[in-house]
């Protein structure tokens, strides 16, 4: 995690990160019930990075995506995307933000595309909303990029699921946003098509330098991204960094290293498996060693056993 010191000497999370979430809280009401979707989430994404956000249902990952997409306003905390502070935006800035800073790809193909427009017209729509002219040439370029130029005149109901997601990606790229947010983009696709879509996302990242955040349940995603952030109970719990290592037979293997996240208050979320294994409950003992901090259950002796 990168830290920078502000003028007052207090550590500020983020610094030069492309996406910066600092103590993000989001509370909403359903009937008479208040739901705390995010409970002080911290997250940094660097420019040109491709990360995946994983978590169980109800962990808050969709809420995080909505906030970063400008659809929801956080209840507390800070969210900055490409220098745009989402907590301080007015309605007009938010509209401009959705047009120019982020592109969104939903899981459901029906939400990505307007059913009564052809593929190329769907790609043109964000440009028309932004007031641009001569939208057709750029739309064709984007459809070429995603590999579906030959179906430019087809309406969504004539396209397969994979083709629709390709068009959806082209729509998301229409106004050259620096950030693409994808909510389960392969949720309705088979594994082969999913792989194609992930490949496309990597291609977009490589060719256009777009920062990409993918929310997913898909286990395969770890092979496709550089970092996987796990969210639990409205906070980031772990990060897994992936790197490819070539092996002797010319192939490669993915080396993943998991880190627990330490927030600004010094709080740490232990993996559930560790908690259950050691029967950790309510309070634990800590001991500072020379190069690490030990954590013991409450009933352990002075030597940690």
């Amino acid at each position: 995690m990168t830290e920078a010191l502000s003028a007052g000497g207090r550590a500020r999370i983020g610094g030069a990160a492309h996406i910066e979430c600092d103590g993000l809280v989001h509370i909403y009401k359903v009937a008479d019930l208040e739901v705390v979707a995010l409970q002080g989430l911290d997250l940094l994404v660097q420019a040109h990075e491709v990360i995946a956000v994983v978590g169980a249902s109800g962990s808050g990952k969709s809420t995080l995506l909505d906030i970063l997409a400008g659809s929801k306003t956080p209840s507390a905390g800070r969210a900055v995307v490409n220098g745009n502070d989402l907590t301080r935006m007015g309605r007009r800035e938010r509209t401009r933000y959705r047009r120019r800073v982020v592109g969104f790809v939903w899981q459901q193909t029906q939400r990505n595309l307007l059913p009564y427009l052809a593929a190329i017209e769907n790609v043109e729509l964000p440009m028309v909303l932004d007031g641009r002219s001569r939208t057709r040439p750029r739309a064709m370029v984007l459809l070429h990029l995603v590999g579906i130029a030959e179906r430019a005149d087809a309406r969504p109901d004539r396209l397969s699921g994979g083709e629709q997601q390709r068009v959806a990606l082209a729509v998301a790229l229409a106004n050259s946003p620096p950030v693409i947010l994808a909510d389960e983009p392969t949720g309705e696709l088979d594994s082969r098509t999913s792989a194609e879509i992930f490949g496309l996302l990597r291609q977009v990242n490589a060719e256009l330098g777009t920062t990409i955040m993918i929310v997913t349940h898909d286990a395969l995603v770890s092979e496709e991204v550089g970092r996987t952030v796990s969210i639990r109970d409205g906070r980031t719990s772990t990060e897994t960094v992936h790197r490819r290592e070539e092996v002797t037979d010319g192939g490669y293997r993915i080396i993943s290293e998991e880190f627990a996240m330490l927030d600004r208050a010094g709080r740490l979320q232990l993996p559930r498996s560790h908690i259950e294994r050691l029967a950790l409950a309510r309070r634990v003992r800590l001991r500072l060693e020379e190069d690490h901090v030990g954590v013991w259950p409450d009933d352990a002796g002075d030597d940690g056993r």
């Binding site: 359903v30 009937a31 959705r98 459901q108 939400r111 307007l114 729509l125």
Partner: protein, 915 residues
């Protein structure tokens, strides 16, 4: 292919939503058509009614007569009466322009002062008259018309004259006398101030004529003086007979110069015949104002040469016009009150369609917003699309209405078209804006609480408050505005909308309470094994989906019941008024007089019972005028027993002798000016010049044939005669109970009496029921009720359509659990049946109750033209019709829901529902 633009986007969306677009277009077209057509039809009906009312009125009532007692010298040459005609033309020029435009014909008469036959005929005078067009209107049976030749005989000028058969009889002349050219010597009637300078003259009768078959042509101006001698009463018992004989216009110079020294004044009357077809509704207030001004103008202005006497204007045109305006103002009140409910339902229907359209666009709106569309772009795009549909539909409807009912008025049509189209567009844009504002995630926005948002609760509370307050104000103040305050139709629109607000308020309350009722019924059905009712009722009690449908059904039921009550009240009141005015199935009277002694119709086939009565004026100690009616109580009971005129006459009035006389007296009557008379009180009245003591047996609000809003006394004819045996109490009214088949014979019997009249209750009822105003009002009420039902059906269909996606998802989930299609249909039936029954019950009770509260305030009685109060009622046929309509609306909803659920593909809908 060119780049996409906003118009292309909009048209693409409309193409994609063909069904919803077509439905919206149809609703806008129908709404605009109804709104545009209604005022046109109403104005057309009103115009025809005005023409009919005036055409049916007597020509002297609708015409204008200017009369003056003056001298007008004869014109030289061949047209001695030319100056008289010229005076009439000059007078016409001084009439207001709007009145001049109504005149289709002109005539004048000239009458000499009264003369007495030298050979006296008791209480009979002779008047010489010049009347235009007489020769063409009568048929000579002896001799021919007079000429202008004037002879000199026995020192007196002898004028030629012709007279009618009745006039000859009054003068004791026979046809042989006329044929022989009888001469009658006349001397001046000193009682006539005009005859001051008259010298004796004579008339030679040249012809005897009979009246034509019909005496109602406009040319007569209701003046039959030359046909029937005039009766001039100078006391209750005594009268003069003025016989009018016709002389030639060429005799005018001689009459002017030779019959008097110096020339005497004569009575001139200029008559202006009004053509009813020239009256236009939209100019009526202006014409009324001009006629009013005209009446003031001629009070102090002479119409002819000389100012010996003031010109008198006689016309009931203003009365007819004002009566028409007043009655149709009442019709305005009734129709606006009946119409605001359906207008409100039309708005709800349009709103439901707007919500349906916005719901169908929800996903597209969310996608567009997520892609960066601003609110202005989203709303702007929807505005263009909606205008593409609404504007042509409205304009087409307006053009169609102009084609269907041609001619003015133009303004209400244009206003209606603009309003309905504008309202439709505004509602769609509003619904779209609300949907778009909920953000890119659209419907995921959380609901705000068990009772809904504060805004919604406040809105509902406000509606209920407006309904309650409006009801109280309507009850107290009425729905009309005073003529001074009225700048439009004289209707307080907000108060007239009270029934609509009450319907809406009742619906909102019902939608709040319905879940409780459904839950209670659900608890009962829980104990049974049948899952369907339990599931349907649990769903109804826990989810708010029934709400919008229930609001519409309750509002429609209440408005429908209110309209039905209005129509039933009008019909019942018409019947009651006819029975009150006639008093029996038939009634015979004589214009201003009495039936001949011994006049009897009981022998006519079909006559079941006859009851004589004596009608007169009575005066109390404090000079209050009472309507006095002495009846044969036993006979009258036989005549009116079992009919709506049956008045439960006290047995005391059957007494043949009594002192004081037993009497039924009107409520609140106070002969002495103090406390109103109560039963048992004794009071005096002067009847036929005699002081009579009465004892009140009972008090009544009304009594048949007596004015509703004035004091009256009814007593025993036999007892009155016994008390005052020397007082002549002739029979003025003969109440008859007879079958309709006897009407012809009764009418013939009446015609044998001079000025005898027969009133037939059934004819009066039909005349009132089929009067143009009643037809217009009843048709308007029926049309309003029909429109209310139509819009309720549309609103329910739209509400079900808007809830369609959620319903289909739920149906899909239940189907995967094993619910059969039949059970699914059963769910839909129970879900709609119970709200229908609730709506019917609540609506019927609420509508009838509201009508009972406000019936006297909405101008119904003024439409009929009577202040007789009639209890409100509801015809069971209308109630059944209402139930059938509600069931029809609910069935439509069930059908829509069932068809939709039959097309459910469970997996598709469930996947959609999980999004």
């Amino acid at each position: 292919m060119p780049s996409v633009d906003w118009l292309a986007l909009g048209l693409a969306r409309l193409r994609d939503e063909r069904a919803a677009s077509a439905a919206f277009l149809l609703v806008v077209f129908v709404t605009s058509l109804l709104f545009a057509l209604s005022p046109r039809l109403y104005e057309r009906a009103r115009e025809e009614a005005l023409t009919t009312e005036l055409a049916d009125a007597r020509s002297s009532d609708r015409g204008i007569e200017l009369s003056q007692e003056t001298r007008i010298a004869p014109a030289p040459g061949d047209a001695p009466t030319e100056l008289i005609a010229e005076a009439g033309r000059q007078a016409e020029l001084r009439l207001p322009g709007s009145v001049r435009g109504l005149i289709a014909g002109r005539s004048f008469i000239v009458e000499s002062p009264r003369w007495l036959p030298v050979e006296r005929i008791l209480l009979t005078t002779v008047i010489l008259r010049i009347e235009q067009g007489t020769t063409d209107r009568v048929r000579y049976v002896v001799g021919g018309p007079p000429t202008g030749q004037v002879e000199m005989g026995s020192g007196a000028a002898v004028f030629q004259a012709a007279l009618s058969v009745s006039a000859a009889a009054a003068l004791g002349l026979t046809a042989d006398d006329i044929e022989a050219g009888a001469v009658m010597q006349l001397e001046r009637d000193t009682s006539d101030p005009l005859a001051v300078s008259a010298v004796p003259i004579a008339v030679r009768f040249t012809g005897l004529f009979e009246p034509p078959v019909s005496l109602v042509e406009d040319e007569w101006f209701d003046d039959l003086s030359i046909i029937r001698p005039r009766i001039r009463r100078f006391s209750a018992e005594d009268s003069f007979t003025d016989v009018v004989v016709v002389i030639s216009p060429e005799a005018y110079p001689a009459l002017f110069a030779e019959a008097a020294d110096p020339p005497f004044r004569m009575r001139f009357a200029w008559r202006y015949h009004i053509d009813p077809a020239r009256l236009e509704i939209d100019r009526l207030p202006q014409i009324a104002a001009d006629v009013r001004r005209m009446e003031g103008l001629y009070r102090d202005r002479a119409v002819g040469p000389g100012t010996e006497s003031m010109a008198a204007l006689q016309s009931r045109l203003l009365v007819l016009i004002e009566r028409h305006i007043e009655r149709w103002r009442s019709a305005d009140l009734v129709l606006v009150t009946a119409g605001t409910g359906p207008v409100g339902l039309a708005a709800i229907s349009l709103g439901s369609f707007a919500v349906l359209i916005a719901t169908r666009r929800e996903r597209s709106l969310a996608t567009a917003r997520a892609r960066g569309a601003s609110m202005a772009q989203v709303v702007g795009a929807s505005l263009v699309e909606t205008l593409v549909l609404a504007v042509p539909a409205s304009l087409l409807a307006g053009a169609f209405s102009l084609w269907l009912v041609q001619g003015p008025p133009w303004e209400p049509t244009a206003t209606a078209v603009a309003l309905s189209g504008g309202l439709a567009v505004a509602m769609v844009i509003g619904a779209v804006a609300v949907r778009a504002r909920s953000g890119p995630r659209g419907p995921d926005a959380p609901r705000s609480g068990r009772w809904g948002s504060y805004r919604r609760v406040s809105f509902e509370v406000a509606i209920v408050a407006v309904a309650l307050g409006g009801t109280l104000l309507l009850q107290g103040r009425g729905v009309g505005r005073s003529p001074e305050q009225a700048t439009g139709p004289g209707v307080d629109i907000l108060l007239a909308a009270t029934p609509g607000f009450c319907g809406l308020a009742a619906g909102l309350v019902a939608s709040r309470l319905y879940p409780i009722l459904a839950g209670l019924i659900g608890r009962v059905t829980n104990g049974r094994r049948d899952l369907v009712p339990a599931l349907a009722l649990r769903r109804a009690s826990r989810e708010g989906r029934t709400g919008p449908v229930l609001v519409v059904l309750v509002a429609a039921a209440m408005i429908g019941t209110f309209s039905a009550a209005m129509a039933a009240h009008l019909e019942r009141s018409t019947l009651a008024v006819a029975w009150h005015d006639v008093g029996a199935s038939h009634r015979m009277t004589v214009g201003g007089g009495a039936l001949p002694t011994g006049f009897d119709v009981s022998g006519i086939s079909g006559v079941e019972a006859v009851a004589p009565a004596h009608r007169a004026d009575a005066v109390s100690q404090n000079r209050t005028r009472f309507e006095f009616l002495a009846i044969d109580a036993m006979a009258l009971k036989q005549v009116i027993g079992g009919t709506p005129a049956d008045a439960a006459i006290p047995t005391a009035l059957a007494a043949s002798t009594a002192d004081p006389l037993p009497a039924i007296i009107s409520n609140e009557a106070s002969p002495s000016g103090g406390e109103p008379i109560a039963p048992g009180d004794v009071f005096p009245l002067t009847v036929a010049g005699r002081p009579i003591m009465f004892v009140a047996v009972t008090t009544r609000e009304t009594f048949a044939t007596l004015p509703v809003d004035g004091p009256f006394v009814v007593t025993s004819l036999a007892a009155f005669r016994a008390l005052e045996p020397d007082l002549e109490l002739p029979v003025t009214d003969l109440f008859v109970r007879a079958a309709d088949s006897a009407t012809g014979a009764l009418r013939d019997a009446a015609s044998t009496v001079d000025e005898g009249r027969l009133e037939v209750r059934s004819e009066q009822t039909n005349g009132m029921l089929f009067a143009p105003i009643m037809v217009a009002v009843l048709a308007g009420i029926a049309a309003s009720a029909l429109a209310a039902g139509l819009y309720a059906a549309l609103a329910v269909a739209a509400a079900i359509g808007a809830a369609g996606r959620g319903r289909m998802t739920e149906a899909a989930q239940l189907r995967t659990l094993g619910l059969s299609r039949r059970e699914s249909l059963g769910l839909a039936v129970i879900e709609h049946l119970i709200p229908t029954l609730v709506a019917f019950t609540l609506g019927t009770v609420g509508g009838a109750g509201l009508f009972a509260l406000v019936q006297s305030s909405i101008g119904l009685q003024q439409v009929i033209g009577s202040t007789l109060e009639v209890a409100s009622t509801l015809r069971w046929e209308y109630v059944l019709l209402l139930l059938a309509a509600l069931v029809g609306v609910a069935s439509g909803g069930i059908t829509v829901a069932a068809v939709a659920e039959r097309r459910v593909r469970p997996t598709t809908e469930i996947r959609r529902g999980l999004e």
